[in-house]
Symmetry: C2
DNA sequence: TTTAATTGATAGTAATACTGTTATATTTGC
DNA sequence: GCAAATATAACAGTATTACTATCAATTAAA
């Protein structure tokens, strides 16, 4: 994965940012340390002022890249899902067996990230933890319909759709392909959260993974 | 349901509040209009000051009932899950057929609330919408482990456990009963959200319900 | 090297999330 | 029915948040 992606840029809907953080050194520092600080203190306590202190830069400079911390979260989540989508497409496109293909796809969308290797300034392991803990907050807002119209969630929706299409290929008669696909992706994040904080209501732990659970669930349902 | 519950009090872990809102007229007004205001402007914009204005009462008076708006949310969510748990226990305890019992249980935890009838000052229809839109925010915090230790999530966990036990009864060999139970409950909220805001990634709409999807999913998996 | 663009420093504002104090109601116990 | 206890309202005050605006200092591009 490392070399394959070295000159590839993950693209995020342009309206999310005021100025592309990939276009400058400061922008990249905002992303890099934004990820680290959100993971460290949580999104709710995170402020641009604190991030400014951390990167030795000014609060107002950060505002020139993102209107608000909410937009920064939208940027990070879009980036993350685009990255997952890339992996999904890349890892499944040359698998001819449709069952194996869906199996691989489920693995990619449900696994936890263990290696930080692909992009220089983005720690994917920590970003994955942010997605687990904060992703819901990006859409559970009163502005969700307006922001959806602006295209802020296209990447996520496209990912779900790709998974749905693979489900349909396996069993075209199955009535709930979209719901199953969205349940797998959202549900995996939830199971990862539960294994870290509410162990009593999940079977996932160090030996059993969300991937196993959702693979079993999917193929039992589609058979 | 109306008469049966008329002298029943839903009980919420005591540490959540400073003073029991059920113990006074002001307390009940806080709950009643808190629900309405959170639904109206969203939890993120909701403040005790605004609620004070709405109920013609003082901000500092509300603080004598709840430490913070986060605690109010914990109160409302605990109340909601306790109410669902009551319905689950009540509606399933005299069903001897285990399959029918689980079917009923899934219906209760996944359906959307259409009637506001049981408790005078609590609008369950609107509370259900709040749960769909805001429940995740009650646990996706840096304080979740500390608050879990304090018992703030016991009711929710007990509900998931009850559903898990019914799943186990149907198929004792199934390995993922806890994960399936937590996926049904959390996943249903998510599907309700999707049908309102991201229609393209769900099959649920006016004719197809989350209940149908999760019933089908569960029994296909356990068979 | 001049100009343009970017960043940093500083100031300022309205709102948030509280805490504290004191006065005024309201309830309760006798 | 009245005093004492309790609850609520009104007001003041604080640190922080989530920005916006202005202008000076750097840095990059033509």
């Amino acid at each position: 994965m490392i070399n394959l992606l070295s000159n590839l840029k993950i693209s995020v809907p342009e309206k999310i940012f005021l100025k592309d953080p990939e276009s400058s050194k400061l922008g990249k520092r905002i992303i890099e340390h934004g990820i680290l600080l959100i993971e460290e203190i949580g999104f709710d306590s995170f402020t641009f002022k604190k991030l400014g202190v951390k990167i030795g830069s000014n609060e107002s400079s950060i505002y020139r890249y993102f209107e608000s911390k909410h937009k920064l979260l939208l940027y990070l989540t879009s980036w993350y899902w685009a990255w997952i989508e890339y992996q999904l497409v890349f890892a499944t496109h040359n698998i001819s067996d449709e069952k194996l293909q869906l199996e691989k796809a489920i693995e990619i969308v449900t696994r936890s990230i263990k290696e930080d290797s692909t992009f220089l300034h983005i720690n994917e392991v920590i970003l994955n933890r942010i997605i687990i803990n904060e992703y819901s907050k990006s859409y559970l807002t009163k502005e969700v319909d307006a922001e959806n119209k602006e295209g802020y969630f296209v990447i996520y929706k496209r990912l779900v759709t790709r998974l749905r299409d693979m489900i349909v290929k396996i069993n075209p008669k199955y009535t709930y392909a979209s719901s199953l696909a969205s349940t797998i992706i959202e549900g995996a994040l939830h199971q990862h959260f539960l294994k870290d904080h509410f162990k009593s209501i999940t079977d996932c732990d160090t030996t059993t993974t969300p991937t196993q659970f959702f693979t079993d669930l999917t193929f039992n349902t589609l058979r």
